[in-house]
């Protein structure tokens, strides 16, 4: 996720999600653009919305296998897995980056006490997402994408917590952006179970940095793949 600093935003196209996270004016503009003005145009909103998310852990091999088996078992019967594979690899890429981010934060020992425990726990959960998604891909007969190398500015606790808030909001929006495109009901169920966890992470960091728990109001905004990848690009080494 791009640094929320103004310098960043002038140097590169700022992602929709990034803007949504911090700029209410942009949020309203976006909602208007996709046809969401409120409850009355909810129908238009839902047509514009879609999403998905992901993440995983190496210690959860058993969990990942169970997930993969259950997810793959219906993938072949309930839809074309080709699109699902692309979505899963996209989610896997994001989960890899999230896991790397948490590992770097944990290694820097920036957080202690309860906050430190939360960061460690969230990092483990992202790792379990990685493992689960890799296993699902393997079960589908697909090859998981290679792990990208991320680079994250890990400076002060406040800056890192703000970045984590942005990262988790983007992750939640990314999953939401793919959900309606997933063909396999099992893959969808798995993605949904991860999606809401990313949202929980985002809300947790919101309370830590005094940012909105629900930055988009009552209806979470999705982010499409191009937007998410553009937002992530600055964090690729």
């Amino acid at each position: 996720m791009p640094n929320p600093g103004s310098e960043e935003s002038t140097q590169q196209p700022t992602g929709v999600v990034e803007r949504l996270v911090r700029d209410d004016t942009d949020r309203k503009r976006f909602l208007k653009a996709v046809g969401v003005g409120g409850a009355a145009s909810f129908g238009a909103f839902v047509l514009a919305a879609c999403g998905s998310s992901s993440s995983s852990s190496s210690s959860a091999t058993t969990a990942a296998s169970a997930t993969a088996t259950a997810a793959a078992s219906t993938a072949t019967s309930s839809g074309s897995p080709a699109g699902d594979v692309a979505i899963l690899n996209y989610a896997l890429t994001l989960e890899y980056l999230e896991t790397q981010f948490y590992n770097k934060v944990i290694a820097a020992k920036l957080f202690t006490g309860a906050a430190g425990s939360l960061v460690k726990s969230f990092g483990e959960q992202e790792q379990t997402h990685v493992e689960a998604i890799k296993a699902v891909l393997t079960q589908l007969g697909a090859t998981p994408v290679a792990e990208p190398t991320g680079k994250f500015p890990v400076t002060t606790p406040a800056a890192v917590a703000n970045l984590a808030y942005t990262v988790e909001n983007l992750g939640a929006a990314a999953y939401l952006g793919q959900a309606a495109a997933i063909q396999s009901k099992s893959v969808l169920a798995a993605a949904l179970s991860i999606h809401s966890v990313e949202a929980r992470h985002a809300a947790t960091f919101a309370t830590l940095v005094s940012k909105p728990i629900t930055p988009n109001g009552a209806f979470a905004a999705p982010a499409d793949m191009a937007t998410v990848l553009a937002t992530v690009k600055p964090f690729l080494a």
């Binding site: 939360l118 929980r200 979470a220």
Partner: protein, 210 residues
């Protein structure tokens, strides 16, 4: 669509909901263990897929009932003389649940259904503590309800709408859990999908008549 102030201290002296280190160590152990693998992950897929077939209107009306319940719950809570963050949450979250009610009513009509009537509820809450405890239960149940029902939705548009709502329920659930000192991720890395029966077991006793 409200953002709301967060009464939170700075990061340096943060004590996230009083969550103890030991509880997280335990959770970490569970994450790493076979118990987690067999009990926490497989169910989110299997129970989601075990749902009986329903039309989108049926699923939406089930969600509508839950949203009626949540909205009425927060309205009731605001009569209790809540203070601080709990009061802020009740106001903000309650307004969002009301927005969900209105949106789902509209969506039910759009898919050709008739929105169910709002039931009469009775909430066993009498102070801030009992409010927060039930809020945690209801919000976390809401997450599981949507995650359980969503794979059964036929319309991609309705599915996307449900996704945009469940994400909000998850955020509410995490914030309330933190406030009462429990884990914001009670299901660890994978939120569980609840069946309709499981949802009714939690919410049903609060419904006095329909």
């Amino acid at each position: 669509m409200s953002n709301y102030p967060e009464a939170q201290p700075g990061l340096d002296d943060i004590e996230v909901g009083g969550i103890t280190r030991s509880s997280f160590i335990l959770r970490g152990a569970l994450t790493a263990g076979a118990v987690y693998g067999s009990t926490m992950v497989a169910p989110f897929v299997s129970s989601a897929l075990a749902q009986t077939a329903s039309t989108d209107a049926d699923i939406l009306n089930f969600a509508l009932t839950l949203e009626y319940l949540e909205a009425a719950f927060y309205t009731k809570a605001l009569e209790l003389g809540l203070t601080g963050t709990a009061k802020q949450y009740a106001k903000a979250f309650g307004a969002q649940e009301a927005a969900h009610v209105a949106a789902i009513q509209g969506t039910v009509k759009q898919v050709g259904g008739t929105p169910v009537a709002k039931p009469v509820f009775a909430f066993p809450i009498h102070d801030q503590k009992s409010f927060l405890a039930l809020a945690s239960t209801l919000e976390n149940t809401g997450v599981g309800a949507y995650n359980g029902a969503a794979p059964m939705i036929s319309s991609p548009a309705v599915l996307a709408a449900a996704g945009s709502i469940v994400q909000i329920e998850a955020r509410h659930a995490a914030a309330i859990n933190l406030l009462i000192g429990t884990s914001p991720t009670p299901n660890l890395g994978f939120d569980r999908a609840l069946t309709k029966a499981q949802v009714l077991a939690a919410a049903g006793p609060l419904i006095k008549s329909s």
